[in-house]
């Protein structure tokens, strides 16, 4: 039969899924590969969704751009928490999860030949969604502490560069930008007429008193930034697939078309869950504090123990990932993760998943109960022969 899509054939089967296949055949296996919070959703979100189901919202398409009340609350949240001014009818769009917002941003920005600059390692989907939407990813290496090497990225700007992408707090490194660093990247965008895609899904997972800064709030950035986000990590609702974004109106108009024809909008009842969740968040801005403190403690444990084992890694400032270097073991990240899961039933994600500069790293998620996390770290210790 005739050949299928060359673009999709070029996307490798996700390493993460290969790992989970292996893992599912193991008894007592522990996954440090999971990218979702391990506490439940606020009762408000569940109740809001159930009330909408009972009111028949499952039987009616949502407006393509999202339920108006949800867009309004998103605009309030963006103004209050992110210092972003967004007109709910023109600048705000609801999409099927964070991944849906990535697709929308890439589909709206890129034409064949366009280059997307980002620091590497970075979240796996960016690489593949870029391919689907005709952008060429140009990777700039991170600093040793995983921070942005602004000179490195500046030297890679060409006439084909269309946008820079940042994800802070970062998956997979946990690195969190300082305001100075965001200003430096923003200046590059302004000076070179580039768009900025700012993926802020981990904005609530910040440690050591850090404050989240949205680049769309910085000078000259409002119109050239696409701020993408989701309720997935904030409300622990990865299974609901509800994301949101803000961008200038020329961009959201294109996105609305794309969303209309490729998915006919976003799950309707769960948008009402998000409405209840945002109302709750705006009343209780610190509702996640306790969870975040728990995550900070787990981060401390992982950071200390991994470094003691010789798996050196910078201390993450946010998100729930830590990314040690496994070179000292004589293995690269692929060998390390495949032997670890095979011999000891612990899954970590090889760094090669996240770009060309992380072959010797692995990603560990600490979104996991403490006893399991300790047991997994013990097994890694055993694996290393300590």
């Amino acid at each position: 039969m005739k050949p299928l899509s060359t673009k999709l054939k070029g996307i490798p089967r996700s390493n993460i899924r290969k790992l989970f296949d292996l893992l599912s055949s193991k008894q007592d296996a522990i996954s440090l590969g999971i990218g979702q919070p391990d506490f439940g959703a606020p009762r408000e979100v569940i109740d809001g969704t159930i009330a909408a189901l009972e009111a028949g919202k499952g039987s009616v398409y949502a407006p393509t751009m999202g339920v108006p009340r949800l867009r309004e609350l998103v605009a309030q949240k963006l103004e209050r928490e992110n210092n972003i001014v967004a007109d709910p009818n023109a600048n705000v769009l609801i999409a099927p999860g964070g991944s849906g917002t990535i697709s929308l941003a890439f589909s709206a920005l890129f034409n064949p030949g366009d280059e997307l600059l980002m620091f590497s390692p970075n979240f796996v989907s960016y690489f593949h969604v870029a391919r689907i939407f005709d952008a060429t990813v140009v990777e700039a290496p991170r600093r040793a502490d995983f921070g942005p090497d602004v000179d490195a990225i500046a030297s890679l700007i060409t006439p084909h560069t269309k946008a820079i992408l940042i994800n802070s707090p970062n998956n997979p490194t946990g690195y969190t930008y300082s305001k100075d660093e965001l200003e430096a990247v923003s200046s590059l965008c302004v000076d070179n007429d580039l768009y900025l895609i700012s993926d802020e899904v981990y904005e609530k997972y910040l440690y050591d008193g850090r404050q989240h800064v949205s680049p769309a709030s910085l000078d000259g950035m409002a119109d050239r930034t696409i701020t993408i986000n989701a309720f997935s990590k904030t409300f622990s609702v990865t299974g609901m697939r509800v994301g949101f974004l803000s961008a200038n109106e020329s961009i959201t108009a294109l996105m609305e078309n794309f969303l209309q024809f490729t998915s006919a909008g976003t799950n309707h009842p769960c948008q009402y869950g998000a409405i209840s969740g945002l109302e709750y968040l705006l009343e209780n801005p610190s509702f996640l504090d306790e969870h975040v403190a728990t995550y900070a403690a787990r981060r401390d444990t992982c950071h200390a123990r991994l470094n003691e084992m010789g798996l050196t890694c910078p201390k993450p400032g946010g998100a729930f990932y830590i990314m040690p270097d496994v070179s000292a073991t004589g293995m690269n990240g692929d060998e390390f993760s495949s032997k670890l899961v095979d011999g000891h039933g612990v899954a970590v994600v090889p760094g090669s998943t996240f770009g060309q500069y992380s072959g010797n790293l692995v990603r560990i998620s600490y979104a996991l109960r403490e006893d399991l996390l300790d047991e997994a770290l013990n097994r890694i210790e055993t694996f290393l022969g300590h």
Copy 2:
């Protein structure tokens, strides 16, 4: 700032949405533009979704290809109702709604330069999703009764033709293929090594004793057919965005990658609603009969009254649309629909939305309470000066 996506800029703002904007400013307006059933979802679907929400499924990603139990039930349904043999682990995939399955099919099949053949008029999304995924749509005119002119489509096959798409029962014409017609189109696919995309979302809406036939069940078609479907119309859950498809494993493997990176799977709790719904359907295969009888009666009313008014149209065999020719009024479909909504508060969709051969037609949905449908038809009569 730098230019945005040329592809997306080329997609016109949907006529349907322009219409709804106009409509929303009218008191007592009636929309005949809606493509969703007007009865509620079976209680089982709501309850299954709620139980899953209570069990925390909203806080966990679903497997990318869909919840295993749902894929199993889809395979059973396909075998029992559609005579399609599908391995739930290899051939079945759950996606975000029928639109999601269209995106998956197009993304997996097409490379730049590939041609997609279909009869026109046809569902609006096919045209635009084709553009997004680099396929060139080649339209073949329908027969006067909206049936497939197989010679017309055969004469349009070139070395660039990659696939034929059919949607039966059809949106927007209501035409429903006979088994002979499906066999004729299938032969074209086999003889010319073409894929067939078969969109069967309206399979349950069949009138006058018609039986649905899935082309994937015909000789030589199993491997070359992508059968796309959704729970949206069958269970009246357009707001839940849960669709399903079956295809050969080379195709589903590519789709899984696409789905993973562009949407991270499909709404998890609502997949459990679909599980409960399918269990109910498999036990009660005739649960929709009463609704379908209601729709058949509405179809009869619309067909008789429109023809009496001089808006001639063939009698639809399925779905819930009817597509009259408005030439006798001296207006084309665009003028007709814009004057009708403006002067009489009734929205119908201009035929130009659905391709190049339907400029003199309009689409009317009769998925609407009888009293509103009657009132809308009365207003159309007034509009025509009868």
